[in-house]
Each structure stands twice: as C-alpha cells, then as structure tokens.
Amino acid sequence: MTTDIAAETLKLPSLDYAALAPMLILFGVGCVGVLVEAIAPKKARFPVQLVLAVLGIAASLTAIVLAAGTEKVTAAGAVAVDGPGLFLQGSIAVLGLVALLLISERSLERGGAFVAQAAVTANSEADRDQATRGSGATEVYPLIIFSLGGMMLFAAANDLLTMFVALEVFSLPLYLLCAMARRRRLLSQEAALKYFLLGAFASAFFLFGIALVYGYAGRVDFAGIHAAVLDSPNDIALLYIGLAMVAIGLLFKAALAPFHVWTPDVYQGAPTPVTALMAACTKVAAFGGLLRVLYVAFERSQWDYRPVLGAIAVLTMLVGAVLAVTQTDIKRLLAYSSIANAGYVLVGVLAISKAGLASSLFYLVAYGFSVLAAFGIVTLVRDADGEATHLSRWAGLGRRSPLYATLFTFLLLAFAGIPLTSGFTAKFGVFAAAIEADQTWLVIAGVITSAIIAFPYLRVVVMMWLSEPGESTPAVSLPGALTAAAVTIGAAATLLLGIVPQPLLDMTENAAHFVR
C-alpha cells in the first residue's frame, strides 16, 4: 500500500527532546522575541525582551544541568549530547548571560549601545538625529538568542552539515550586531561588512572541505568519517585537503593566525558589549566545534594534522603577542590578546588527550569570564563622545578611578597568567597537558610569547598608575547595575578560579569524554 511505503520512507528520526531542550528553548525564545518586536508597544519592548532573554537563557541552562551525564547521539546522528558538548553549552549559556548584562546596559548612554535603525546612512542628518535619540534597537535580543542557540548547536553538531548550518546560524546575527553601534557608525558598519565578507569566504572553504571529506568517506557524520579514515579505498589526498579546508573554516572563527586578520578591525568597530560576546562565547563555540572535529572525526589522523596545527598555534601566539606590543587602542590590544589566547587554547587542544580536552575547556571558561569583565570596564571609561579607547586617554586612570583601574590591572594580570588568577591556572593546565603529550615545543613557544605579551599588558598598568592624569583622561562612568554585575561576576570568577579552581577542574575532568 502506498501509505505504508510513505510511512516507511518518511519515518521521522527519533528525537530526544530532553537532550535537545537547551537549543530548542533558545530557538523558541528567539522566535518569541521576534514576535514581541512585532506586537509589543515600543516602550514595553526593552523590559519584555530583557526578561524574556534572561529567562530563556536560564531555562536553557536548567535544561543543560538536567541533561548532565547524558551520553547519546540523537536526531538521526545529527546531534551528539555528551560531557564536552553539555559543558560547552553550559559555558555558552553562562557567558552569554553575563554578556547579555553588558548589552542591556542603558544607564551609560541614553538608549544603550545600539541605534534604533542601523540601516540609516552613516553620518547623515537622520543618523546624527537617531544617535541622540533615546531609543535603541531591541532586535538585538532575538539576534543574540539565535546566535547563542546556534553556538550551542555548533558545539553539539555531530555531522559536518549540521555543523555548517549551526555556523551560519550563529554567525549571521553576529554580523548584524556588529553594525549597530550608536557611536562611530562608519567604523561599526565597516567592521560588520568585513566580518561578513571574510566570514562568507571562510564558510566557502568549510563547505568545500565538507564536499571533499564526503568524497573520501562517503559520509558526513563524525562516526562515519572516523570509520573511513585510513580504511577508505578513495584517494587519501581528498581526506587531507578536505580536513585542511574544514579546519580553516573553524580556525577562522576561533581567530587563529593567519586567519585572524578580521579580528582587530571587527573587535574595534563592533559595539563593545558585542565584542565581549564574541570574545567570550564565539571563542567557546568555535573551539567546541574544532575539538569535536579533531577528537571525534579525525582522531586517527592526528599524526598528520598535529604538526600543521602546531605550527598554526605557534604562529598565532607569536602574532598575537608581537602585534599587541605596538597597539594604541585598548580594544585592538584586547583583540590581539584574544588571538594570542586562542593560540594557548590550541596548545591544549593539540595534546589530543583527556587532559588536553579538560584543560582546553577550563581555559575557555576562565578566559571568557576575564574578557567579559575587561570589555565591561572598557565600556565604562568614556567621555562625552562615547568610549575613550585610545590608550593615551587611559593615562593616570588609577588616580581618577582607583577601583576600576585596580580591577582592570587585576584582569590584565590574569591575561598575563600571574598566579592567584584564573589565567595562571588555565595556562598551567594547557601547558601541562601539552607536555604530557610530548608537545614540548608548543609549550616553549607558549612561555616565550607569554613573556612578550606581558609587556603590553604591563604597559597599560604602568600607564594607568604611574602617569599623571592628563586633560584628556576621561572619568569612569558610574556603571549601572547590569554592567556592575557583569564586571563583578567576571572579576570574581577570575579570582575564584585562580584560588579555588578545583571544583571547575573536577567538572572539566568529568566532562572530558566525547561520544562517537
């Protein structure tokens, strides 16, 4: 009978809703957010969207906690729910929540950091008008929620096509978010366009890589690729070129040299809260995807990709550290710092061991908290023209605002990896894992570049404390409750993970097992 045949061929894959709930909740909340934009009156949108977003992320986080311990592949092999996946999703949720606090701050500037209509021509009369008006875009909330949902899916994707879809789901909202800065509109739009063009370029590599891998393995799911590696009768060149191109797409998102070139411009141009979101959450998601591809799909060709990716790690650390030395803009400096830090995470990833996986997970969380707090403080140092990001304007900040200068000094010390900060624990973890895996050369490069990059950090410290405040040193704005909360959470986590890292270390240790 025809109906039977139809039922057989169109059989729905079994879906484990509990395991998929974190992502489903976020996508649902995103859709509701779009509806709110359409239905709710203008004045009510901001509080409604904020509450909706916070509740959505909290619900998603609850679902993740409830799913803890699950190890299964669901949705017809498209999604893997396992320790690292859930840990990464949890990290994305928590860091996203803190970033959301920064994004929602409206007391520093009337209407927040985003303009109401990003499409208005920059520097036109209408644009100047909307910059001074108190209204701001509330579309950012559904965009962020979609982006976070995409990141979660990216960290849990179990085949290359799902991964690609997730990549686009979380990238497209980010491109838009970058373009919506209230101040320096041209720079913001330029950043968005650059990010979009280069992102599309990198996505093309990724997609082409998928095609080549499929050509070799005949499958796109990771288990299938794993089985095919070394056993397939097809030309092995297909596999390696494919792997290289897939990796390039991921390395681009994680901002590893030489695919990092977009980072400084985009970090500088994007609204600072969005930069914070990208530096914390995107990094987690990108490394989540990279970890899964390298550990699950291509584990058996680790001897082939390890030296190449090792060279990329060394190059990344060098480029990040050396170029940070001559930066004069605090956001660009933090951008290069984030590039160097991506290099350190890659060192941990390349241990290709349980310890490597656990230490990379720890590093991502620790760095995420610190960078959120750091960018949070950047949003506070401002004058009438908005944020004062040029380093010369930070001279003597210690006299003007000792509290924030102290906090920022502490965060810079964390980036430099000084003990009693999470930066030290995290770096120690990845270096230890790499040494255990006989990747000493990576650690040597890591230590040398750590010394180099300590210089620009300390230069900022010296500038803040030992220079006299000049005419142009801006005061620090009193943060609203949301920014204060975000900075406090970030700095407190940096301190706590430096002093009592054991609970999180245990958590990463327990989570460090991929399902195939």
Partner: protein, 633 residues
Amino acid sequence: MEIEFAAAEGWLHNVWLLIAVPLVSAAILLLLGKRADKWGHWLGAGSVGVTFVLALTFFFQLRGMDEREGVELSLFEYLPVAGLKVDFGLLYDPLAAIFTLLITGVGFLIHVYAVGYMSHDPGRRRFFGFFNLFVAAMLLLVLGNNFVMLYIGWEGVGLASYLLISFYFDRPAAATAGKKAFLINRVGDAGFAIAIFLMFATLGTTQYDEVFNGVGQLTGATVTAMGLLLLLGACGKSGQFPLHTWLPDAMEGPTPVSALIHAATMVTAGVYLIARSHPVFDASETAQAVVVTIGAITLLIGCIIGCAKDDIKRVLAYSTVSQIGYMFLAVGLGGAAYALGLIHLLAHGFFKAGLFLGAGSVMHGMQDQTDIRRFGGLAKHMRITWITFLLGYLAIIGLPPLSGFFSKDPIIHSAFERHGWSGWVLGSVALIGAGLTAFYMTRLYVLTFHGKPRWTEGQHPHESPPVMTIPLILLAVGSVAAGGLMATSVPGWLEPVLGEHEEHHARLSEWTVTAMTMAVVILGAGLGFALFRRGTALQEQPAGPLVTAARRNLYFDTLNEVVFELPGKLLTRALVFLDNRGIDGVVNGLAATVGGGSGRLRRAQTGFVRSYALSILGGAVLVVAAMMAVTLS
C-alpha cells in the same frame, strides 16, 4: 622517656581564647581607624586584662589535674601536604602556663601604664592595636604545640616589635632602629627556619612530642646542627652575642614597648625556645657548650657596655642583654638549671619591666630627657617612682631578700658546678657580671635620683598620674616577692616538662657562693656610689681605651659592618653592574627586536578586506600544502 600529651577537656578546651581575645581587639583597633580613637586604649588594656583572668582560670584548672604533663588542642589542619601534616594546634602545659601568666599579667600592667604614658600621643590607638597584636602573637608563640606554630608566633612578635620600634617613624633614628632590628632578626630567623626544615627532613614532623621522642634516633651531628640552628634563632630574638646589637637601638620605641617587648617578654622567647626544645639540647653536649659560652660572653658584654652608657634606656637595655645572658647560661647548663633560668626569666620580667616603666615615668616628668647626666635629685620630686625604682634596682643587683637574689645566685652557683675547668671559668664570669651589674645599676640609680639636680633649664619634674604609678607599685611588689615565692615552687611546677633533677653541689657550698656574690655586689655598688654620689660631668669626658670601646658598643656595630654590610654592598654592586651591562643589554636588544618586528608586521594589517582575504587564501594554500607535505613525507 616517652612524651605524651592528653587531649584538652572541659574548660581547658577554650585555651584558644587566650590568643583570640587580644587578636580580635587588635583587629578592631586597627580596622576601625579613627572611629576607635576615643575608647581604643581602654579596649586594648581591657582585652589583656580579660586574657589575664582567663589565664588564671586555665592555670588553676591545670594545677588541679593529677597528670600535669599538659593538654593538647588541635584546632584545624594548617598545612596538609603529602607526607607532611601541620595542625594549628595548641599545647597548654606548665611551661606554657607560667609564660602565659607572665605575658598577660605584666602585659596588663604595662597596658594600663601606657594609657597614661601615651595620653598625649595622637597615635595612641594605633599603638594599642600593635600592642594587642604583640600579646596575641606572643601567646601563640608559647601556646603552639609544634615548631611551625612557634615560628608563626615568633614572626608575629617580630612584626609587632618592628612596628613598635619604628612607632615614631618620622624620626630617622626610630626608622633606622626598626630596620636594624628587622635585618638582624632575619639572620636568626633564617637559622630557626632551617632548623624546622631539618626536622621535616629527618623526622617528618614538627610536633613537639614527636620531635622530642624522635631525637634519640638521630645521629649526633644532626642533633647538634639542629640545636645550633635553634640557638641561632634564639640569639637573634633574644639579643645574644653576636646578634645583640639591635636590642639597645630598639629603645627608640615608646617606653612601654621597651618594658614589655624588649625586656619582659619577647626577648626572652629565645630562652623559651631552648627550654622548650630541651630534649634536643640535652642530646647534644656541643650545643649545650655553645649555649653556655654565648650566655657567658653576652652577660659580660652587656655589663661592660652598660657601665659606659649615659642614656637611661640604653643602660637598661644592655642590662637586659646581660640578664638574658644569665638565662642562656642557666638553660645551657641543663638539668636542674633549666628551672633556674626560667625563674630568673620570670623575676627579671617583673623587675626589669618595673625599671623601664620607672625610667618612662622619669622621662614623662622630664620632658622626654633620657640622658642620666641631666638628671639628679629626682627622689624628692617623684616619690613613688623613686621608691619603686629603688626596689627594682635592689632586686636586679641581687640583694636579699629581693627577687634577684633568689634567681641569680643559684645560676652563679650552678655555673661553678659545671664539670671540668669550664665550671670555674663560667662561675667566675657570672660572678664578675654580678659585680659589674651592681656597679652600673648603682651609677644609674644614684645619678638619676640623688645628688644635685643637673637638669636643663625650664624643667619641672613631677610625679606621674596614678594610672602610671599604680602599675609601678604592683610591679615593685612583684620585684620584692616574686623571687622568694618562685624559688621553691617553680621547679616543682615545671617538673612534668623538664623532668626531675637531683641538685648536687660538689665544689662549693651554697653559703660560699652567696658570700662571694654578696662581696662582689657590695664592692660594685660601693664603688658606684663612691664615684657618682657627687654627680658627674655634663659632657662625655676623654677616657681610656676600654671605656671608649665600651662607649662604642665594643665595636660590634663596626664588626657587623665589616662582616655583613660590606660584602652585601659589594655583592649588590657587582649584581647591579652585571644587570646593567649584561642582562639589560640582552633584554633591551630583545625588546627592540620585538618592537621593531611588531611595527613592521602591523603594516600588514592594512584595513582592506581584499588584503585580508588574500592573507586567508595564502594561509589556506599553506595549510593545505603543509598537510600534503606531512602526509606524503
């Protein structure tokens, strides 16, 4: 003999309160800041009073017990590391009990006195904060049940001492004295720390009972090294030769500090350390010999320099150095003499604190004058100070039946009884010391209180307020009675700690020694009285080589300069040279390379999407090529 401590039960379970009360008070005083200025000094004095009452209750509790070996109380794990476990634990035994009483009792009186003495000082609250901190640290020092606790207290009292020596930090002399005390104590503390490391290394523990029980298994050389290192620490803290030079300079601090920290309690910590670790010293003949030698040398040095000083507090400071020399001599002799050293320590705590407070009272009435050449005839103007100082003076020179007689004479006697020729030498030194003590103390006393006034113009000496005189009177009572009371009771009380010892006097009878001592004391005192009863010159007079040397502290400061300071300076100079020429050159060169490279690389960051895309494409080609190369190779 196996040493074992029972666990603390009942009221003794609260022994930690002794440390907590002054510590909390110190925290309140130091954290509240100016808000506590009005009532802070009463809190400071009151907390020590409460601690004293607590100490009394604990004392009677322990006295009522059948087994008085001491009770242990483990509060929490302090250093739990693999193979090494240090608890934050307390031990309340007879030795700790008498120290606790001394520290809190004399400490309370001095705190009360300081309320009056510091009444015009704007930093009075800060002073009491540090003072309370000292009491807490000192109590931790004597109450700890392992060497690490002792060390923490040791460093704590050191900290309080430096803070209080430099209390008037705007005076260069006080700031320098604080620094000097700190640096010289570093030398001693390093020795003590190494001794603790040695315990870790050889015995794997720092608990008193386990260390002492384990001493027997160690080789002689190890025990000797341990003893000598402990001794080095003790010498630093107690101002013993050759590390004694900081103590007289420490008199730059306020006088109550000199009385409590640099006379009655902290400086005797070295004696406590040696008495506490007596099983270590008992096991090493060499270490004991070094202890007695150091004690003998120091007691002579202190006496000789004391004769030549003109500053009332410095004379008392050198007298402290020399009296602690007696205590070292006693504890170095070992056996029954341990108890003698501790009795002298307690008696000295009373009369020296009384003397210092008397000196403070004199300074209080003489506008902070300290030069004894500028005193004279004060007896009429400060009756109470005069009488109490007189009693303290008679006590220290050892006139019967005051306390010095009961505590010092037996030490001299025991020194004579040491086996071999060394007994004769040590006994004679101790005897000569007694004579010299009588001489310089008579000089000090006569020049201050008798003869014609030699005051600078515009001085109107007056008696101090009751808040200062009442502690003086109470301490004077202690100076009179303490020695006689303790001479018989303390050895029995300490028996559970130090063990039973038969006293056997072979060489000289008690009476012979007493007679000899009395003779030299009367000789010294008579000489001092005859020389100085008519006063003295107002300026320093030219003198023979010995007096000049004594005035210059027997050149020990110069010795320190040559032995420690000069090599240190040369070393730093060499290092600076190496740093400037060698290391900085390399570092600067590297920095320039990085900076230049950074500047050049930066130009690649053009801002054009096309060049970025080219960079990505280039990177992609390289990665693919590298993958192929790795695979094919």
